[in-house]
Structures are given as structure tokens and as C-alpha cells.
């Protein structure tokens, strides 16, 4: 178990070194770096992403989620979301990227992001300020305090949950550990987020979520199907450390009708 969660920790450390170098060298921008930045002009720029020792820095999983959003950008623009939300905003890289890539539109959605870690909220604010975008930020556990009034209202929800399998007692710890400790199969927090997402998503709501193979994404999709969601893995990426899936969920009335078939598939999966 231990080796699993140190992967994400090791990646954090590795990336810290890179990003510090990037900031020190920012006065002499190489052409390679300039083209890299141009390519990412529709996302948050790494040198502008703020940091704190207790906040998870953008890593392969964050990049995969943003790449998936970018690939779906045309659909997102046509979707005209009124309310966009991120649960667990960390460094702010993802919500900032979302605001930047949808920023050309005249219609600006209401962006709101939560994190259980107060340092993450502060860092997200700095990251968003550096990019000239804005979201309302709430320091809370998942969506606590928002579930009543924001029910059935969120049109786009993005989540990069703590998905790393860890001992159960590491879940919900303070600081940076809250960014990755996912308990058994990395599902402890994911399994709390899914009902919260189901409550918050509007009738036309979309959910984008990062999962790891160890989280059993197909089982997650089946469970969401029981709640009336269709789903698709829109991006799959294997890194040295992990195999990531970005899943998009949307409400689909046909899914409810397929419940009988679903029981069959559920049995197949479990056996």
C-alpha cells in the first residue's frame, strides 16, 4: 500500500523542483518554453500557478483533467454553463484553466470552488488573480454547506479527487495528505463525492472526474448509471506511476430504463 501513495507524493516533490526552476529562470524565457506556453494559452500557465508546501501542485493527473476539458472545450462552450464548480481545487490549476478556456465567451459563468485545506484556498486565489479570472472560494469538506441551495444547479462540475489507495486512517488528514489519501482502493472520498455531485448537478449537468485503475472506474460508471447517468472515458493516460482515466458523466433518462440490464452487468462484474 505504502508504495502506491508515495507515487503521488514523489511526483509532487519532483514537480516542485521543476516549478521552482521555472520561476527562477522566468527572466530568460527559452523559445521552447515560449511555444509551450503558447500551446497552453487556453489553460493556466504553470509559472503563474502559486504554491505552498501544504498544497498539491499540478501533476500528471491535473494535466490529464485539463487536457480532457480542453478537448471537450467546443462542447463546453455550446453548453453555456451558468454555474461551474470544482470540488477540491488544490493549487487552482484546474478551475483557473476552465475559466481561461471558457473566457472568450461574453457570458461568464458563476465559478465556485471548494477545498478542505485552507492553504489550498489561499493558493487558488493567488493562481486565479495571476490569470485575471475569478471564482468564489469556500473552505469546506466536499460541498458541505452548499448542498441545500446549490442542489440541481451546477452545469459543469470538475473533480480531481484524492484517489490514491492508502490506509483508511490517513483519509481526511490535514494539509497536503488530504489531496491524495483515498483509503481502501482510493474510493473513500470518491464514494462521498459521487452522491454530493449527484445532488448538485443540474438536469443538464456534466461531471468530469479523474480516476485511477485501482479505483475500478467501470464499477464507478455502473454505480452512476443506477443514479441515471451515462458516462464515457474521455481520456486515458498511463504515466510511469499510474494509469489515469478522465470520466465524463451526464444525466441520461435512458440510463434509468436500462436498470434491468444493469443488474445483469453488475452481477457479471462482481462475479
Amino acid at each position: 500500500m505504502e508504495s502506491h501513495y508515495t507515487c503521488r507524493a514523489a511526483a509532487v516533490f519532483h514537480y516542485s523542483l521543476y516549478s521552482v526552476g521555472g520561476r527562477v529562470g522566468s527572466g530568460r524565457v527559452t523559445s521552447r518554453k515560449r511555444s509551450y506556453l503558447k500551446m497552453l494559452s487556453r489553460t493556466a500557465k504553470i509559472p503563474l500557478v502559486s504554491s505552498h508546501p501544504e498544497v498539491y501542485e499540478p501533476c500528471d493527473d491535473s494535466f490529464a483533467l485539463v487536457d480532457a476539458l480542453l478537448a471537450d472545450r467546443t462542447n463546453l462552450l455550446q453548453h453555456h454553463p451558468s454555474i461551474c464548480m470544482e470540488i477540491g481545487c488544490g493549487s487552482g490549476y484546474v478551475i483557473t484553466s476552465l475559466a481561461v478556456m471558457l473566457g472568450d465567451e461574453e457570458f461568464v459563468p458563476y465559478y465556485i470552488a471548494t477545498d478542505i485545506n485552507p492553504h489550498a484556498i489561499k493558493v487558488t486565489r493567488e493562481t486565479m488573480d495571476a490569470h485575471g479570472v475569478y471564482a468564489e472560494l469556500v473552505n469546506t469538506d466536499i460541498t458541505s454547506g452548499l448542498e441545500k441551495r446549490l442542489a440541481r444547479s451546477v452545469d459543469v462540475l470538475v473533480v480531481n479527487p484524492p484517489y490514491v489507495p492508502t490506509p483508511e486512517d490517513e483519509v481526511g488528514c490535514e494539509g497536503i495528505m488530504s489531496a491524495w489519501a483515498g483509503g481502501e482502493n482510493g474510493r473513500s472520498v470518491i464514494d462521498k463525492i459521487l452522491p454530493a455531485a449527484n445532488n448538485l448537478l443540474s438536469d443538464r449537468g456534466w461531471l468530469y472526474m479523474v480516476t485511477l485503475t485501482a479505483n475500478n472506474p467501470s464499477e464507478i460508471c455502473l454505480e452512476m448509471r443506477k443514479k441515471g447517468y451515462a458516462s464515457r472515458i474521455i481520456l486515458q493516460r498511463s504515466t510511469e506511476e499510474e494509469s489515469l482515466h478522465i470520466i465524463k458523466f451526464w444525466r441520461d433518462s435512458d440510463s434509468q430504463l436500462e436498470l434491468k440490464n444493469l443488474d445483469y452487468w453488475t452481477k457479471m462484474v462482481r462475479n
Binding site: S82, Y110, T140, D141, G145, E147, K148, R149, L150
Partner: protein, 122 residues
């Protein structure tokens, strides 16, 4: 924190039946200009609990919103601009949100509401 967000928050303490609206204790209000967008306002009008917004706006030192409002008022420029200002431009920078049932205070610092609960409140 904008009043739009105040309008979306409720007391999340275990056992609280109706934790909305949270009362506002003001220490510092900041005004930040936001681009005026009619579509956004019309969209949000249906999500906003009007009485809570009007009261919150008064507490924040802007007693310009009518006590009641209906969708027909969205045609009036004057109304829309006041609604825009109250909803998006008034920020509670420092202060607290108070649970209407228990009196528990949720601090707001640097514009961030802290809704984290103590162990015995979950």
C-alpha cells in the same frame, strides 16, 4: 465572498433543520467592479432567494433592493443595476456568517467563508 455565494450557503451543522439564511456579521465590506451581464442576472434571479439577498444587502450597507421582487422587474434597468451591484460587487471581506438556529459563527477571512465543522458538529 459575494452575496451570491452567501445566498447559496446554509448552516451544515448536524441537527440544524433550516440553516438558511445565515446572518451576516460585517467587519469589512469591499466593493469590486464586475462587468454588467443581463443574461447572467436573469439566469441567477431564478436561483436566488430574494428576501435573503435583500436583507444581506442591507446588512452590507446597501439598502437599495426592494423587499420583494418578481421576474417582471427584470425589464427595468434601474432594478437590474441594483441587483447586479448587490449580487456580485459587494464582498464580505472580513466578518462571520451566523447559523440562524444555533448561533454558531462561521468566520469569513480575506473573503473566504470557513464552513469546516468541529468533530461534534458533523
Amino acid at each position: 465572498m459575494r452575496l451570491l455565494t452567501h445566498n447559496m450557503l446554509s448552516s451544515n451543522i448536524k441537527g440544524v433543520a433550516n440553516g438558511f439564511p445565515l446572518k451576516i456579521e460585517v467587519v469589512k465590506v469591499v466593493e469590486k467592479e464586475v462587468d454588467f451581464n443581463i443574461d447572467f442576472l436573469k439566469n441567477m434571479f431564478h436561483k436566488v432567494e430574494w428576501k435573503a439577498l435583500a436583507e444581506a444587502s442591507t446588512t452590507m450597507g446597501y439598502p437599495e433592493l426592494p423587499e420583494n421582487a418578481d421576474a417582471s422587474m427584470l425589464d427595468a434597468d434601474d432594478f437590474l443595476h441594483k441587483f447586479h451591484h448587490a449580487l456580485l460587487e459587494l464582498h464580505l471581506e472580513e466578518g462571520a456568517l451566523v447559523c440562524p438556529e444555533t448561533g454558531r459563527k462561521f468566520p469569513v477571512q480575506k473573503g473566504i467563508p470557513n464552513m469546516l465543522l468541529h468533530e461534534d458538529e458533523v
